[in-house]
């Protein structure tokens, strides 16, 4: 039986002709790409924030330039650059250390790194905004009260910064989720890629792109609901002090 004649329910179901399980697994991979990119972005973004607020001029300027470039260049270009450029870069690194060329790195890694590098530039701005919102007098008071740097971070800075940073971080998470679709061009079997493959092999592009849209909508709206829950919890906790 030709796939073009099958009913949408069969095509999207779990039977031998159905793409349902593959699409769901792909949605999970999309989630994993976005989460890994978010984690990379948070670590690198925090480092960038520290650099941005550093007293060393050259360090602050380098971090600002990084942000300017990564926020001004299309995400697609970053993904393409890492995907096409990484094997050559790895090969020259390996040549420097005298070992044979390791071949191309896994698509998952380059994809997460590309989205994460962009995410870091946006997260650094968010963290900096959050830190600037803590009045310097509070830090001075904490120092005067004899708090160590870790206690200051835990008791004074983190609660206030987290509270301010959570809503914009939620926005960045949404962008990471949607940008993860760009990783499909590297061949990684995430949601965009699998819907493209399914559309090609069944010749039902409308059906499968619509299904992918629904799955993306589930991911984005479920995660925004989750973020809103954490925000209201956080507010209650902050108000209950």
């Amino acid at each position: 039986m030709m796939a073009a004649d099958l009913s949408p329910l069969v095509l999207l179901g779990g039977g031998p002709d159905g793409w349902g399980p593959a699409l769901l697994a792909a949605a999970m991979l999309t989630l994993a790409v976005a989460a890994a990119a978010m984690a990379i972005g948070t670590v690198l973004g925090a480092a960038l924030t520290a650099a941005l607020m550093s007293r060393r001029r050259w360090l602050a300027r380098a971090a600002a330039t990084y942000g300017l470039i990564l926020r001004g260049v299309p995400e697609l270009l970053v993904v393409l650059l890492l995907y096409f450029g990484a094997p050559g870069l790895l090969a020259s690194l390996a040549a420097l250390m005298g070992s044979p060329a390791p071949g191309s790195p896994p698509a998952f890694l380059t994809g997460c790194l590309a989205i994460g590098l962009v995410s870091a530039a946006y997260q650094a701005e968010v963290f900096r905004g959050g830190l600037l919102a803590v009045p310097p007098g509070q830090i001075e008071a904490a120092i005067a009260a004899g708090m160590g740097p870790f206690t200051r971070l835990r008791r004074i800075i983190a609660p206030q910064v987290l509270h301010r940073v959570l809503p914009p971080l939620g926005n960045i998470w949404q962008f990471n989720l949607k940008d993860s679709a760009l990783v499909s061009i590297t061949g990684l079997a995430e949601l965009m890629r699998v819907s493209l493959v399914a559309a090609g092999s069944t010749r039902r592009p409308f059906l499968f792109f619509a299904a992918a849209m629904v799955l993306y909508l589930v991911l984005t709206s479920a995660s925004s609901a989750l973020f809103r829950l954490v925000e209201t919890r956080g507010q209650r906790w902050a108000g209950g002090r």
Partner: protein, 227 residues
């Protein structure tokens, strides 16, 4: 060394020749998206239009632009009434499909920006305008629109920068814009880093130019308020 310079010059020329495609796509979709966004905000003030506008915004903000592009270019082509209808010459053209998808997608984001600006206008002003006997259209023209323009401009500018960057996705549906030409050049020369850096420089120039322009407009607008 000479060969390197010759390669860079040829590459840069090829990329610059693709610049009009990127600029035209960005300009037309910016205009289209802004018009649709205004319609969406206006629709949200009516009882019938409100849920429709909300669904539009929910769908286009919640899914990746890449998927929307593929839906318009490949998905709609498989739908009978479009394939055999009067609009087929339009939907056969990848550049038009890119324009259509970007207009829909960016209109949703811009509508949210405009709505936020609308809500930031103190309701007392609108009530005062009503009390003065201004009609609805006069209120929009004299009280609401000028303030919305000023309030929305920074966020609107961010959306336009995003829009310029997302024009690069059109290369995935065979449009030969800056990114598309860059990919073709890499396929021929295998010089990834040089070609992508040149393309990145073009986008950086565009986004930086737009940011500078917007900042100048913002300053001009603020001069009128005495702040």
């Amino acid at each position: 060394m000479n060969e390197e310079i010759a390669f860079l010059t040829v590459t840069a020329l090829a990329i610059v020749r693709a610049l009009p495609v990127t600029v035209v796509l960005a300009l037309t979709s910016a205009l289209g998206a802004s018009a649709v966004a205004v319609a969406l905000v206006a629709a949200q003030a009516t009882r019938v239009g409100r849920p429709l506008a909300q669904v539009w915004i929910f769908v286009f903000r919640g899914t990746p632009l890449l998927l929307q592009l593929f839906m318009v270019y490949y998905g709609l082509a498989a739908v009978g009434p479009i394939r055999h209808g009067l609009l087929w010459p339009l939907f056969r053209d990848p550049l038009f499909c890119a324009f259509a998808a970007m207009t829909c997608c960016c209109s949703a984001y811009i509508a949210e920006v405009l709505r936020a600006a609308w809500q930031a206008i103190p309701p007392g002003q609108v009530e005062a305008a009503q009390a003065c006997g201004m009609s609805r259209w006069t209120r929009v023209r004299r009280v609401i629109a000028p303030q919305m323009l000023r309030l929305a401009l920074p966020a609107y500018g961010n959306e336009l920068v995003m829009l310029i960057k997302s024009t690069s996705l059109a290369s995935t549906i065979t449009v030969l814009d800056v990114t598309g030409v860059a990919q073709t050049l890499i396929a021929h020369s295998y010089r990834t880093l040089e070609v992508f850096c040149l393309a990145a420089a073009v986008y950086l120039g565009l986004t930086a130019g737009l940011t500078a322009l917007l900042r100048r407009i913002e300053r001009n607008l603020e001069r009128g308020t005495g702040r």
